[in-house]
Symmetry: C2
Subunit: 202 residues, 2 copies
């Protein structure tokens, strides 16, 4: 059975988003990343403010504050608690399911592998890379500042783990959640895309 | 740089050994599994009795007894302690390094991914599969009895985790230990072999 939904989870800086875009192009599928899924979430009536706040926690605030907010505690900055995360996660689940119902898509991030875990026509991929590769990449490709990239990557990883765990109750990166896991630093970005396309067509 | 050493770690029943044999055939590489590496270990002067006992722990005894023996406690059955495991592990490390020095080989099991972790010409692969696939396979292919295969697989997984941890201080199946991880139940045994060959030739 060929796979017409492909989810990609990835370590920050691994090039997983680029792999996803290449796969979508090669297969003629639609491509959705974090921002494009957010747009779909807004269509469900969710306020942009809530989505922005949720994403801010997941990407900018310290992992500790994020963990507190997601576990039901109160954010000392905003005075708000757990319920906004629950609302956003429900909208996110609906948006991802709606996209998957249409088929022919590559979805990067937002725990799509978890939301679509029981779909037989979905292929779930995890993309990672060694630290040197990622550190070089976030400085060169994303234009991040050239200070302590390894420390920033470790913090990103920690936050992504917390985010994934709060949304899915699973461990981020656990091989059992995916059909395959590929290291872009070992395999190469283009080759990763080719392998995924090849398996999806099977 | 092409990879002329390929290590394969695998879940029991996933078909990882078969994948390894296919890869070796396609690339014209030598193939070594647990038993063939044991033969090399004996050449270093280790007694067959010690190797047999070590492997018996790793594959037949209860995970609890195995954990006790490897952690330095005393096996209530034999009265022996940790030192035999240390001796066997040293011989295993030497055997795997000697095989790798010759190059052009596929090595399945025995923590070869850990022993050869710093070799730039090595490709490290993890092979797994979903429980149904593995349960069916151990009954049909290995002729294991048709009783509680899932329970037996879970026990095997537990033992392999303990074994790997005692030998490597790493977590078995952690994606960071490998260049790629492939599910045979999702990707197919032949296709897994083709992907590995393709990457090794790169």
């Amino acid at each position: 059975m060929s796979k017409n939904i492909i989810t990609i989870s990835r370590e920050f800086g691994s090039g997983g988003r680029t792999v996803g875009r290449m796969v979508a192009e090669k297969l003629g599928y639609d491509f959705y990343d974090q921002e494009l899924i957010a747009k779909v979430m807004l269509e469900s009536g969710l306020s942009e403010e809530l989505v922005r706040k949720y994403d801010e926690y997941a990407t900018h605030r310290s992992s500790l504050l994020f963990a507190i907010a997601l576990s039901g505690g109160t954010d000392p900055y905003t005075g708000t608690g757990h319920s906004f995360a629950t609302q956003v996660q429900a909208a996110q689940t609906k948006a991802i399911n709606d996209l998957a119902d249409k088929g022919g898509c590559v979805i990067v991030g937002r725990g799509a592998d978890y939301v679509l875990r029981d779909r037989e026509n979905a292929l779930h991929v995890f993309i990672y890379a060694d630290m040197d590769f990622r550190a070089k990449r976030i400085v060169e490709e994303y234009g991040e500042r050239d200070e302590k990239p390894v420390e920033r990557l470790k913090d990103k990883d920690e936050r992504r783990k917390l985010y994934y765990r709060s949304f899915t109750s699973r461990n981020w990166g656990d091989y059992k959640n995916y059909d395959l896991s590929l290291s872009t630093s070992a395999v190469g970005i283009e080759k990763c895309a080719d392998i995924i396309v090849d398996i999806a067509k099977k």
